[in-house]
């Protein structure tokens, strides 16, 4: 059946009438792009929600050096995220998130090199770079686990709640850093992103496995690497925005 030829009237031929790829991209790649577009809407909604809730709370307007956690204004992010693993008590604002950003960008680079190796039918190269990408993703997840754990357990001095009691760390209803929505948004936004990283690592591993057993080589091309690559770069892209809007601004 697949060898059936269709004769098309030259005059009536339209690139959108089927059988051709008007966007010069395969069905799978195109659908990955449209999925990513919808995913971009989800993340945009989360980040715009963050902006809306943040700007409907009063901002801290004193001197930055005198900043203390309070329920009556939104915290300055660099005062919340200033811890680094194994260096207890050191104030290193945003250093750890900087390292995480670097790790994710590097794993995006190894991914792009895997795609390049795939275009050359270089199975060894694909295996090597996919493995580095998976390692980068796992390291990022480890960092995020530490970050969450630190955020949940809190600092030694804690913060004062509205009823006057001292509270340490954070959960979905209260936290030491500021208004309760601050921690809730932290869990939702970094959690939703972290879950994307996790699923990205799983998908990367499946494709890595298919490369190792020679399945993709049998298929004759490595377009699958390109498709999962799109997803992986998107995860990196989202982190760039989360980094700016959650940690820097």
């Amino acid at each position: 059946m697949s060898s059936t030829a269709v004769i098309v009237d030259e005059k009536k031929q339209n690139i959108w009438s089927g059988g051709l790829a008007p966007m010069k991209a395969s069905y799978g790649k195109l659908m990955m792009w449209f999925f990513l577009l919808s995913d971009a809407f989800s993340f945009s909604a989360l980040l715009v929600t963050y902006g809306t809730i943040r700007f409907s709370h009063p901002a801290y307007d004193g001197a930055v050096e005198d900043f203390i956690f309070s329920q009556s204004y939104w915290p300055i992010p660099e005062k919340v995220f200033e811890a680094v693993p194994f260096l207890h008590g050191l104030h290193a604002p945003l250093v750890f998130v900087g390292i995480m950003t670097f790790i994710l960008i590097m794993s995006s680079v190894t991914m792009v090199l895997a795609v390049e190796a795939g275009e050359r039918m270089d199975r060894r190269g694909v295996e090597k770079w996919m493995l580095w990408t998976i390692v980068g993703g796992l390291v990022f997840l480890g960092c995020q686990a530490w970050e969450w754990s630190h955020f949940i357990h809190g600092t030694a001095y804690g913060g004062r709640l509205l009823d006057g009691s001292i509270f340490f760390g954070a959960n979905l209803t209260m936290n030491q850093y500021g208004p309760s929505n601050f921690a809730a948004l932290f869990f939702f936004i970094t959690g939703f992103h972290g879950f994307h990283v996790l699923s990205g690592v799983v998908i990367n591993f499946i494709i890595f496995y298919q490369t190792v057993v020679g399945k993709l080589e049998k298929v004759g091309h490595y377009e699958m690497i390109e498709k999962v690559g799109l997803y992986w770069h998107f995860v990196d892209l989202v982190w760039v925005f989360v980094f700016t809007f959650f940690y820097l601004v």
Binding site: A40, T52, I76, P93, I105, D122, G214, E217, L237, T244
Partner: protein, 108 residues
Amino acid sequence: MEEVSQIEVKPVNKEKVKLFVKVTIILAVITAFEFLIAFTVPHEYKWLRIVVFIVLTIFKAYYIVAEFMHLGHEKKSLKLSIVLPMLFIVFLIFILLFQADAILQVLS
């Protein structure tokens, strides 16, 4: 096993790798610059900081999408069908930030 040896592995596309290295350096430099601003520009210049951060983020996003995701080299119809819908987000940002300001006015 004989089949495997028939597959022709092409040499590394040096120009592409060079481009990827260049993009990586750009991304690293922009991120470093963001850190520089975060620690040198005082918080009193809140809106200057926010605008610079957003512009730099859009630059980074452009390089990731255009080069790493290869969208810059796709057909125009594909580019537009991905980029144009993002205009809705700009719309949403304006609506909700005005709304946030109104909520703050009422509560305080």
